[in-house]
Symmetry: C2
Subunit: 295 residues, 2 copies
């Protein structure tokens, strides 16, 4: 579904998904699971107009600064054609366009779920190919500066930055930000210890608070706003983190990374190294047309 | 410091670190920062016996099961000798010992900070070498089964599993598990909304609760217990996560991963793919001898 959507830049072309693996996949981008085994019903409703359009907002990216390379690496394409893949193929599709002009380039992608920015976590000697990979640190912190809604720039160090849409608020962003029962219980135990809790601390209340907190992370795919979150922020004398997450209309990021990338929907990545500046925002022109079938 | 410690398996050999970059590094494994510019004072104290031994407990690893490869990839060595590095060098140091015997192998490493288990996050075409890397998914969830203190096996899907020592409780584990002011504030707002909070919700109280929660994540390097935590657990119909973290004496993990590894102190990694079983525990025989100088 993400791959299909990544090919559509036209507001006129609807994209509809069917969940072919309902046992193992939530399929939140697809039609409800009941249509998997009764697809004719879905077709009937589409034919009869028993649906409404759902406009899933998407994120666009501008890249500028020194040493950027606006050539995307298409990770989905690599997976599909892994055997016949050749460097010539890549050369044919994506010319190396390392740009001398540093003005903002609008990247030829739209994020349906999220943009993730972080140090590449490539590592390891490849036993089979007998070639050591040139980078190895499995978990290297990402250094960057961030400005939210044209606010002041803030230096940060973390495991990466995630900027999502309403659609993506159910995806990776949710897993980064959700809180566990266990954590809520321990926080409330501390509060109780200070004599500040009226209610008895039972499982039901903890679950209720946990659910309400986690539900607050989700919002409608149609809302033209983004949700940014910082993964595992590192806070010390040099690096601050005034807000770990929040809604915004615009996020600017300046890379201070050594070997980082911006990854769109887990499928396309762009180099994003020291000196590069990304501007991340939603333009409603980029919304993806999907359907909501009537019950 | 981690690299030096990784060479020491002898309880008699003390390892002492000096923080050479106090501006940018916490140096929690080193002597306090004041000795960086007055190292003779430290030497004096050592000479006079004005110190005590600090035993930093370390984790040992047993690996068994089908298709394991107990050959470690030494990531520190790769960094130090990146230019002159050659495959012949690796071949000389670590013979490929893919084992036919599936009995538990005690790995030739001891974790001073932590063991991290997760899918390799290697990705990307390497523009310079003109060779596509054979794996690309930047963020693939890790599948595994876990048994804590010989308890029942539980299937899990997450961004990885971290098992640390007291020393490591201040390191990556801390960044995975710490809670932000912002999250505590939002949880307490929910509690207040239910009429359950006695105290006014001011910044001071929120900070106090946050600090107390985060402090509870830290413990003494000398305690012979491990702290396991699951990073970004994915919870749905198939995968449970009864406890996101906790103390334990023993953690067993069975890999259901495609291309995963166990990484010790961010420096040495072992393949850990489907069928491999790791047993993770502390043996006080493996403790590293370090010093605590008298004030």
């Amino acid at each position: 579904m993400l791959l299909a959507a990544s090919k559509v830049f036209d507001r006129c072309k609807p994209v509809i998904g069917v969940n072919t693996d309902p046992e193992r996949s939530e399929g939140h981008l697809c039609l409800p699971v009941r249509y998997t085994h009764s697809f004719p019903d879905a077709l009937q409703k589409l034919y009869r107009g028993e649906f409404r359009w759902q406009w899933r907002q998407r994120i666009r990216l501008y890249l500028e600064g020194t040493g950027i390379n606006p050539t995307p690496v298409d990770l989905h394409e690599q997976q599909l054609s892994q055997e016949q893949h050749s460097w010539a193929h890549i050369n044919g599709r994506f010319q190396d366009q390392r740009s001398e002009i540093s003005g903002p380039h609008l990247l030829p992608v739209r994020a349906l779920n999220e943009v993730f920015i972080g140090e590449s976590l490539s590592s390891r000697v490849n036993y089979k190919s007998c070639k050591p990979s040139f980078k190895f640190s499995l978990h290297r912190a990402s250094y960057y500066e961030i400005s939210v809604d044209d606010g002041p720039w803030e230096k940060q160090k973390s495991s990466g930055l995630n900027v999502c849409t309403g659609t993506g608020s159910k995806a990776w962003s949710y897993n980064i930000n959700k809180v566990a029962n266990q954590a809520v219980e321990e926080i409330l135990k501390i509060v109780k210890k200070h004599g500040s809790l009226n209610l008895p601390l039972n499982r039901e209340f903890i679950q209720k608070v946990t659910n309400e907190y986690n539900d607050s992370l989700l919002y409608s795919p149609e809302e033209p706003k983004m949700f940014f979150s910082i993964r595992e922020p590192i806070v010390n004398r040099v690096f601050s983190s005034s807000r770990q997450r929040g809604f915004s209309s615009k996020v600017c990021v300046r890379s201070r990374c050594w070997d980082a990338c911006m990854v769109v929907d887990g499928g396309t990545s762009f180099e994003f190294n020291d000196g590069a500046v990304a501007s991340i925002l939603i333009d409603t022109e980029d919304a993806l047309r999907t359907v909501l079938l009537e019950d």
